[in-house]
Amino acid sequence: MADKRQRIVVVGGGTAGWMTAATLAWAFAGRLADIVLIESEEIGTVGVGEATVPHIRYFNQRLGIDEADFVRRTKATFKLGIEFRDWGRIGDSYIHPFGDFGHDIAGLPFHHHWLNAARAGTAPSLEACSLPIVAARANRFAPPSADPRAVGSTFSYAYQFDASLYAAYLRDYSERRGVSRVEGRVTAVDRGDAGVAAVRLADGRRIKGDLFVDCSGFRGLLIEGALEAGYEDWSHWLPCDAAWAVPCSNTGPLTPYTRATAREAGWQWRIPLQHRTGNGHVFSTRFTDPDVARARLLDTLEGEALAEPRMLRFRTGRRRSQWIGNTVAIGLSAGFLEPLESTSIHLIQLAIGKLIELFPADGAVDPVDIAEYNRAMALEYERVRDFLILHYTATERDDTPFWRHVRTMELPPSLVEKMAEFQDRGIVAAYREGMFLPASWLAVYYGQRIVPQRPHPLVAAVPPEQSAAHVAAVAAACRRAADAMPGHADHIAAIGAAA
């Protein structure tokens, strides 16, 4: 096998680059492939993806990463969901949790019974029926229970971490497993029969490879610059095209959730880490001036700004092909979806997983593999896109031109169909691929005031007090389980990380 060893060149060393290098190192380094990562200290990483979804835990587990060590070194906090403020209406707040609302009753989803009880005015809030929300609101955290019958097993969790520390952590991991890091800036790409033959660095070096992974960020040096994949632009549905990012000092309790607050022409993130809070204002330059957006961000910081705000520009959409010839684009080079639902790192992780599954071990890339990769990734991006658009279209806000635009814009047919089914009678169709499960859709629908026009006919026949008893029992169990959890900061302290 040693004679077949290929050279994989990862171009770019941000979160995407080091996640890719680390996984390839874990899987193949020294056996099937030699891995080279090229990055330049001159080029900053974007690192907006500081908040994650629960799948990141499987990524870390696969690499054999110890959670406590990881939490200490990336200054991570735990995350039970995302709080959305001012989205449906100014003054609204809801949490999209990593977990279910109650459990099915007689073959029907719980939320129909909650609605039935709510119609009679006897139900607690839907939030009260979700353990991760109840715990998040109380700033409490404990890992899920392994007992599937316990309410404590009805949720999952993710992390909020410093993306540059995570990249450094994975760099350390990768280098210990034989990845060679090349300091340098790519200035040219040499095409070859297979796609890319080599990249040239500013200092004149030429680095050849069998397989290239383009983690060069928005520019897509290889996938677009050299291979001209083309870009499917989605900014007519998701008009935000810029963000200011700035960290600030921590104030108040350490929340086990990310916050996304709707603004006049976009929204603002708040990601609490152990040592600071990440903030960013995502906005549309069609609807507001960057200086206004910057001032709005600085005016609303909870703590003291720890750096000058940095502005990023982006165009929402996806590369028409994410894998061409011997080149795979992973991360921002593959497409961009604003971090409203913390999907950036997850999409990187999915791409890496697919690449490993379809890895051209003998060095020859099969068109069948490329077709499957591009099909699967396109579907993932589209399904995330629809979920993000829902947040903008499901609103009563009409206070600014931005909100008047997004609430009335024409939607993708795939989303129109989904929304019609929910609005009519509370149907949330599950699908096989796509990261957001029905509970996520429910959280956003109800949280943004989309309520089914009609009750489920089979639940409407159930006396409201009977539904209310189910709902009350679930809410009481969530309350008890949340009360038994330690504070979030205490949990972090207990695993040995200084909060």
């Binding site: 096998m1 899987a27 193949f28 056996r31 099937l32 696969r62 007689a106 073959g107 029907l108 989803p109 490993i356 599954e357 379809l358 890895f359 071990a361 003998d362 099969d366 069948v368 593999d369 077709a371 499957e372 099909r375 699967a376 169909e417 019609a420 089914e421 009519d424 009678r425 149907i427 169709a429 699908y431 096989r432 691929e433 009609r454 489920h456 006919p457 089979l458 026949a461 159930v462």
Partner: protein
């Protein structure tokens, strides 16, 4: 007012629908009424006096308070741990598709990739040597109490009778007389008149007669699945029945054998052979107006795999989820039709793919390989042939492992292997497979011979 859910067809399909709905519909609101239309047979294609029940139906039966032993003993049926496929492959070798899991993963790498790795090193690995159901089948041992996935072969009319009794206990009713005619207003069935003069105003009309309405748009699948004749016979058989089914490929179709105590039931499907004619395909919109076609009235697929019952049960689950508020409910029916027709098409794909992957020579079989296939089949066939993986779509009734096992049984050998499996040392994979197999063989040794189970049942009866 109590609404009537009228089920047309005193068939197995009709009584399954009645049993499922009577469990779920509030009795104060709905009456479930089964009406005989004169349709005979199971309403599920009527390919045999028996119906094949895959393990996936266990949850439905449990919800009704039935276990496998009650079902088999109560209907004079049998158990099946899998299916022998004979005469399908180019090399003439026999394959075995077993129920339940095959092998165990090592370091997160699926068994089939481990097997491919050993094969690439020149070793012979048979899936059937690594599935507990297949090992039990090979040694003729089985105990219904053992936690081993199994299918059932049940006498359709006795099975229907058991379900009728459960449905009626839950409030379903048998109509006072057979159907005379249906009065419609556009897509809505407004009145049903029975032969005794009774009229029924159905809220929903579930067509479980087994025959698709001739005036509804029908997607014909016969260019992919040309078998159009079926015949069945029950032949005496000596000795203990084996706990598995067998499908022998023929020149233009196949013959399946289901062993029972003292007899074998045989079903043949062929192009222009002996027996009754049928046409494979599905309604474009099984739910139109207040009429919902279920079972073979909605979709007719040759019974090469036991797909009829899971498709019916999943359609009923969907119906409960999307239960209409009124006689017309375009949102609910569109959602139901999307999921139901999607799942039917993916079940169809599995059968088409098996024909296309079979290497058997002959004009019929050559045509199965050279006919233009649905894109969804091409995608699965090509990626499996390339590297043993499967693209999976929404509404798949079969899992990735089922697809892989079928292609393997047809003798398809992927051109390349999983890169992670390639890095495992061969001895580590060998040890893993051997240890797992030894543990399964120990479990199989503790089972009684299947013949004893059959004999004990005969003694009780």
């Amino acid at each position: 007012m109590i609404e009537t859910v009228a089920i047309l067809g005193d068939t197995l399909c009709g009584w399954i629908a009645a049993a499922a709905l009577a469990r779920r519909l509030p009795r104060a609101e709905y009456r479930v009424l089964v009406i005989d239309t004169g349709a005979r047979g199971d309403g599920l294609g009527d390919f045999a006096p028996l119906i094949a029940v895959p393990p996936a139906l266990a949850a439905f039966h449990a919800d009704l308070g039935l276990d496998d032993r009650q079902l088999v003993d109560g209907t004079g049926g049998g158990y099946a741990l899998g299916t022998v496929l004979a005469g399908w492959r180019a090399d003439g070798a026999t394959g075995f598709l077993s129920y339940g899991e095959t092998g165990a993963p090592l370091d997160g790498i699926a068994f089939r990739h481990l097997a491919a790795r050993l094969r690439s090193a020149g070793q012979t690995v048979r899936f059937a040597d690594h599935a507990i159901a297949a090992l039990a089948a090979q040694s003729g041992r089985f105990d219904p109490a053992a936690p081993i996935d199994r299918g059932l072969h049940l006498d359709s009319s006795l099975y229907a009778r058991m379900l009728r009794s459960i449905a009626c206990n839950n409030g379903a009713e048998n109509a006072s007389a057979p159907l005379r005619d249906i009065t419609t207003d556009g897509p809505i069935a407004t009145h049903l008149t029975l032969t005794d003069g009774t009229t029924v105003e159905p809220f929903l009309l579930l067509d479980c007669t087994g025959t698709a309405p001739t005036d509804a748009p029908f997607e014909d699948w016969s260019h992919w699945l040309p078998c159009n004749r079926t015949a069945t016979e029950t032949v005496p058989a000596d000795g203990a029945p084996p706990p598995f089914a067998q499908v022998d490929a023929q020149d233009a179709g196949w013959v399946m054998g289901w062993p029972l105590d003292g007899a074998d039931v045989r079903v043949a499907c062929s192009v222009d052979g002996a027996g009754r004619s049928f046409r494979q395909g599905a309604l474009a919109a099984p739910w139109t107006g207040n009429r919902i076609a279920l079972g073979a009235a909605s979709c007719l697929l040759e019974p090469l795999h036991p797909t009829a019952l899971p498709l019916l049960l999943n359609a009923l689950v969907r119906l409960i989820q999307y239960w209409p508020a009124d006689r017309t409910d375009p949102v609910a029916s569109a959602a139901f039709n999307r999921g139901t027709t999607g799942e039917q098409a993916r079940a169809r794909d599995f059968v088409i793919a098996q024909y296309a992957a079979a290497g058997r020579p002959g004009a019929f079989w050559n045509a199965r390989r050279t006919t233009e296939l649905p894109d969804t089949v091409v995608a699965k066939r090509d990626l499996f042939a390339a590297r043993g993986r499967l693209p999976m779509f929404d509404d798949e009734p079969f899992e990735e492992e089922d697809w892989a096992a079928m292609f393997d049984a047809m003798g398809v050998v992927p051109r390349r292997h999983d890169a992670l499996a390639d890095l495992l040392p061969i001895p580590a994979i060998e040890r893993h497979l051997a240890a797992h197999r030894a543990a399964m063989i120990d479990r199989v040794r503790s089972l009684p011979p299947y013949a004893q189970v059959v004999a004990r049942r005969r003694a009780v009866a």
